[in-house]
């Protein structure tokens, strides 16, 4: 965090928010879950409090209870004083009065948090009308324009009549913030406000939030799992785990000297841009060897299109990409959503048809290839999918899932041999062999991704394609999966295409990095080259936008960013 809130004098007054002994329980099929367990927090005027924690730590539940937005299955006790009013047990009109005017919320998914079928001004007006039934349409529109101007939406007077889908994700999040502003909320609860956004947009939204606080003295509770975001924005940090606040400290203090073991682990698990570049960890001889290894994947002028509907032109997802992956090399492909990175991975695995250029995979030209010829290729390629929850057939056991490639490609294997092989792999991915009999839904996300890795590796592939394998995982889990990946790659020496939106993650794993922008490869090279000496402005911007989990360094980077790209937008 930057200098401690310069604009507003904290003052001795009542804190904006005082949570005391908050306790929330949910009823689930598995019995009662104690989601929040005796949490106490305060937020002063103008303070940005970051609540960090991993899935299930209770941070979101805490945030939602501030607005009394808990589902009916939940039961809360304790007290949440918002400017002096206790929200717990509050209902009806008094709760509604409080919502919006005193405390407002910014949601994780801006697309689903805006009603798709009403124009923006109407949606903004609903909050205003709720608090002032006599407000006229004219007043609403004026207020909406004012608020949209404040959050930097261009042309607000014209665009308040637009519908949410006509705005980009970042703009939608700005609109959400504008809504909070229009109501004059003194406390904004931002629940993972940037998680769904690309990193460059994230930087803009973070800047906006900071600006809001500076200009209006708004207090913000920032719920996030991203330590970079915390380092960038927060004044104070509360670390939550299993429903409890285990540590609370000013941001610099926390990053500099975390008191709790868990906090330390959490911080350690966060990949730090440029700290541990995979290429740099290789010995020169290894680097040399990689440089001359034969390519397993070679793309030249690769074009991939999605057919258009009803005679519309095709959508060109990949526009002439050249890249090659050498044997034993990990190639990291980075890009924001819609850049075509996943498409390239799928094309290499034979899941998409190529429309132009050439793509040779393990010696086979994929352009116009017949399904028959792809099949032998498949036993030499492994694929790890992004979402471990959906990439397993829910009706097959873990053992059956892992054995599937064996069933298809190694028919002569006996059942016992297959079992042995499965256990061997489970062991390799550090899971107990007994997990073989379990069903995917009985495993945690990290465990499933390990199984996914095991399945990809069961046939000993020469090439592994990993499509955002850790983006659905918590940081600490991500770290262990990445470690596992790294270790297995070193041991087995397969070539890999590692696809991610997170430069920091890619850097810790990939020997070479390619940066994709709207279907074009704008930059490619060894990790340190790309990160330390980016050639393309987009790469530079990408790097600059990525917050690092260190408040001091991040403050410096932010200034540099502002210098290079302007304060905002």
């Amino acid at each position: 965090m930057s200098a401690p809130s310069p604009a507003i004098d904290p003052g001795p007054a009542e804190p904006r928010l005082r949570i005391e002994d908050l306790d929330v329980r949910f009823a689930t099929d598995g019995g009662q879950v104690h989601a929040v367990d005796g949490v106490s927090l305060t937020v002063e005027p103008g303070e940005i409090l970051a609540v960090v924690g991993e899935s299930g730590s209770g941070k979101s539940v805490t945030a939602r209870s501030v607005l009394g937005l808990l589902p009916e299955t939940a039961e809360a006790s304790g007290s949440i004083l918002v400017t002096g009013t206790d929200v717990v047990g509050l209902s009806g009109k008094r709760l509604r009065t409080l919502r919006g005017e005193d405390v407002s919320m910014v949601f994780q998914e801006p697309s689903s948090a805006l009603n798709p079928v009403f124009p923006i001004w109407w949606q903004m007006g609903e909050g205003l009308r709720a608090h002032d039934p006599k407000i006229t349409k004219k007043q609403i529109r004026a207020k909406a324009i004012e608020a949209l101007t404040a959050v930097g939406i261009p042309d607000p007077a014209e665009r308040i009549d637009r519908y949410p889908h006509e705005f980009s994700g970042g703009q939608k999040q700005r609109i959400m913030i504008a809504m909070a502003l229009a109501l004059g909320a003194e406390l904004i609860v931002a629940d993972e406000p940037t998680t769904a956004l690309d990193v460059t947009v994230q930087a803009e939204i973070l800047a906006l939030l900071r600006d809001i606080r500076d200009r209006f003295g708004t207090s913000i509770i920032l719920i996030t799992h991203n330590m970079g975001v915390v380092a960038d924005l927060a004044d104070t940090v509360a670390v939550m785990r299993s429903g409890k606040v285990i540590e609370r400290a000013p941001v610099r203090e926390l990053f500099a000297s975390p008191q709790q073991e868990y906090t330390r682990e959490l911080l350690a698990a966060v990949p730090h841009l440029g700290r541990r570049s995979a290429w740099s960890t290789l010995e020169p001889a290894q680097q040399q060897a990689l440089e001359v290894a034969a390519p397993v994947v070679e793309a030249q002028g690769l074009v991939i299109e999605y057919p258009g509907r009803l005679g519309r032109p095709a959508f060109r997802a990949v526009k002439g990409v050249d890249l090659s992956i050498r044997a034993g090399e990990v190639y990291g492909l980075v890009g924001e959503s819609g850049s075509g990175k996943t498409t390239i991975g799928r094309a290499i695995a034979g899941l998409e048809r190529t429309a132009g250029g050439s793509l040779r995979v393990l010696g086979t030209e994929m352009r116009g290839v017949k399904e028959r010829d792809v099949k032998p290729l498949r036993r030499r390629i492994g694929f790890v999918f992004q979402d471990p929850a959906t990439s397993f057939n829910p009706h097959l056991t873990i053992g059956e899932c892992i054995a599937e490639p064996l069933v298809v490609h190694a028919r002569d294997l006996s059942a016992r041999e297959r079992t042995a092989k499965v256990e061997e792999l489970l062991e390799a991915v550090e899971l107990p062999g007994a997990y073989r009999g379990r069903y995917p839904h009985e495993l945690s996300g990290g465990q499933r991704q390990r199984v996914s890795l095991a399945r990809a590796l069961v046939l000993g592939p020469e090439l592994l394609i990993a499509d955002e394998p850790t983006s659905a995982l918590d940081v600490s889990v991500q770290a262990t999966v990445l470690d596992l990946f790294r270790r297995l790659q070193e041991e087995l020496g397969f070539a890999a295409l590692f696809i991610s939106h997170d430069l920091a993650v890619v850097d810790t794993l990939a020997h070479r990095i390619g940066v994709l922008l709207r279907g074009e490869l704008v930059e490619s090279g060894h990790g340190p080259e790309v990160l330390q000496d980016p050639q393309h402005p987009y790469t530079r911007r990408l790097i600059a936008s990525l917050p690092v989990p260190d408040p001091v360094e991040q403050a410096r980077r932010r200034e540099a960013y502002a210098e290079q790209f302007g304060a905002r937008d």
């Binding site: 607005l67 937005l69 009109k93 509604r96 009065t97 409080l98 919502r99 919006g100 005017e101 407002s104 919320m105 949601f107 994780q108 998914e109 697309s111 689903s112 948090a113 805006l114 009603n115 798709p116 079928v117 009403f118 124009p119 949606q123 609903e126 909050g127 709720a130 608090h131 519908y163 889908h165 959400m176 809504m179 909070a180 109501l183 999605y306 057919p307 258009g308 509907r309 009803l310 005679g311 519309r312 959508f315 997802a317 959503s337 819609g338 996943t342």
Partner: protein, 377 residues
């Protein structure tokens, strides 16, 4: 399944609703995104209408052969009194002894020339049948839909609001009873109570004989009695027409209303849990308004799609209602003509129904587009 409950507790309705109001799709399939934007309305309409042709053609073919392998109209009419020779002679005269395929080509030729023929059994031009009975059915369906909407939408919203409480349970059981009770059974009960018992409402038909006579004086009568009654400005006639419509409308409306109720409830529950409702709630919007304004309109999009199909189905499907209440509509006449093996009439009606279904599909899309700003073709 009985047509009156065409898509009864529609299995698809049930499943499509589940995924319906979700936001954008994952960006991994840009093609799907593409569909939402750009492109011309004219082209879209054209393609939609061109797609009707194969559907109609398939139906025509299927109906022709199905009808003809089950017998010809002459045997249907005179099988009980002519000698086999006389029958054969008459069949030959009508050309029914020719190979089926030749007859089919013959019929097809007529259709291509725009000649749908006249019905065999009562010599009515098919176009006229469509107008007359189509009008009657349309009127019945209109009433039915009004009742169904009056039942389904508000009660569905209430059920969604009080979900999982006793009120919800009562409403749901009511909805299930609505489509679990065969329309002829409901009709019987309604008639027993309101016509026989209380004597308030007429038993059957669209209008009394006297009303019919008055109606006969109107120039250029429309197929819609209500319209004609209004044109005449005769209040007793209007009541005459309306009183005849009440029981059929209730019988049909209860059935469809039950389906609508369930549909509205499911979708409302879905949208009430959407983040944007929470988002509006977090800005202090009252619960009632959340239901009636914020959640209703997005929920309506899938509802309208299913309802539209439902209504299209009702047009041809209200056989049981029409039979129970002597309401001479398309479905009822279709059953009649089918029994008479009058395939000319059957073809014509079925073709019209296919077109209606296709057109209503299209209309539904347009309405959905008007409500949903995301869909713009």
């Amino acid at each position: 399944m009985s047509p009156d409950r065409s898509s009864g507790p529609d299995p698809e309705g049930a499943t499509t609703q589940v995924a319906a109001p979700s936001g954008e799709d994952a960006p991994s399939t840009p093609a799907r995104r593409e569909k939402r934007t750009g492109g011309g309305l004219g082209r879209y309409i054209l393609v939609r209408f061109l797609l009707i042709i194969p559907t109609v053609f398939i139906l025509m073919t299927v109906v022709f052969f199905l009808m003809r392998i089950t017998g010809d109209p002459i045997t249907a009419a005179l099988g009980g009194r002519l000698t086999p020779d006389q029958l054969a002679e008459r069949r030959a005269e009508a050309g029914y002894d020719r190979p089926l395929f030749i007859q089919y080509l013959d019929y097809l030729g007529g259709v291509l020339r725009g000649d749908f023929g006249t019905t065999y059994s009562d010599r009515q031009p098919v176009s006229r049948i469509l107008l007359e009975y189509g009008g009657a059915t349309a009127e019945l369906v209109l009433y039915g839909v009004i009742v169904a909407l009056l039942i389904g939408v508000p009660l569905g919203m209430i059920a969604a609001r009080v979900r999982d409480r006793w009120g919800d349970l009562a409403l749901r059981v009511f909805a299930i009873l609505g489509y679990a009770t065969p329309v002829f059974f409901v009709g019987l009960l309604l008639k027993l109570v309101f016509s026989v018992g209380l004597g308030w409402l007429p038993v059957a038909g669209r209008i009394s004989t006297r009303g019919e006579l008055t109606m006969g004086t109107i120039l250029n009568p429309s197929p819609f009695y209500l319209l004609d009654a209004l044109r005449l400005g005769d209040l007793s006639l209007l009541w005459d027409v309306l009183s005849h419509a009440i029981l059929p409308a209730i019988a049909l409306g209860l059935l469809t209303g039950g389906i609508f109720l369930r549909l509205v409830r499911t979708n409302m529950i879905g949208t009430l849990e959407m983040p944007y409702v929470d988002s509006a709630r977090s800005r202090g919007v009252a619960e009632g308004r959340l239901t009636t304004r914020h959640a209703l309109r997005p929920a309506l999009i899938p509802i309208i799609t299913v309802m539209g199909m439902q209504i299209a189905m009702m047009l041809g499907g209200a056989v049981l209602t029409e039979t129970t209440f002597e309401w001479n509509g398309l479905g009822f006449m279709l059953a009649e003509y089918m029994a008479a093996r009058d395939y000319v009439a059957v073809q014509g009606i079925v073709m019209m129904l296919a077109v209606i279904v296709a057109v209503s599909n299209f209309v539904v899309d347009v309405i959905a587009a008007l409500i949903d700003p995301r869909v713009r073709y």
